[in-house]
Symmetry: C2
Subunit: 133 residues, 2 copies
Amino acid sequence: MTDSVRNIVIQKLADGDYSCPKEFTLAMFSGKWKINIIYHLGHEGTYYFHEIQTLLPNASHKELAKKLKELISDGLINKNVENDGPHIKVAYSLTDLGKSLLPIINEMYDWGKNRLQEIHMENVKFGLGEIKK
Amino acid sequence: MTDSVRNIVIQKLADGDYSCPKEFTLAMFSGKWKINIIYHLGHEGTYYFHEIQTLLPNASHKELAKKLKELISDGLINKNVENDGPHIKVAYSLTDLGKSLLPIINEMYDWGKNRLQEIHMENVKFGLGEIKK
DNA sequence: CCGTATCCACACCGATACTG
DNA sequence: CAGTATCGGTGTGGATACGG
């Protein structure tokens, strides 16, 4: 998904418009890969940038960096630069604010899992001709 | 926000890829105005198309119709056409599946409300110079 | 190793207008 | 009243490359 909600919300805040709390929350994790980043950091702890890359192999280097930057500016994750030898390693982890989002994301996970199972079963039945509908 | 998650998820389903339940759920209500539509229908019941238009005055006629159509095809809302006199009235309401999404949206509302209050207070304090940071 | 810039394709969404 | 088509501006995100 894209991210236009986030820009709209940012604009609203700049205008002193504090309406629509649910859109604000949605803006936190809509935007490609964000919900996955939060989920992984929430369930498995700290990751280095290159580790996140391997966790999300389809995410481009550029977008990952961009989304991590946005998550930082939204206060959801921390960044920690380690000067480890010749190269730099950057560690990311959830802030307390980021952690407070986990219950919602977990609920989304559960809802989606149930719904996907339903759809899958419907498709199988449909494919076998057991349901005409 | 935009809607590309939804297309990605639809594509995944077509490919038999049932991974990433949280992205699937996210795809249900990301897309401009969708979360507001679900919220209103969930809290206040059935609305006619033109009523939804007045509830969301900034939403264009076209996008509203499009998003409602998507919500129907996702199984979240029902459509009911009434032949009421010279003109047609179309009533929309949540399905049981749509209702099952309300706890998540309500949690998003609460999280956003709290967070917006925090931000607002920080800004006020910052504006008054009470916090340097 | 990590961040950012450029270029480009494409999807979204608004305004508008036309149909039933 | 409700749905759809067209056109055009704009934002998103991928590939690639360069800088720190």
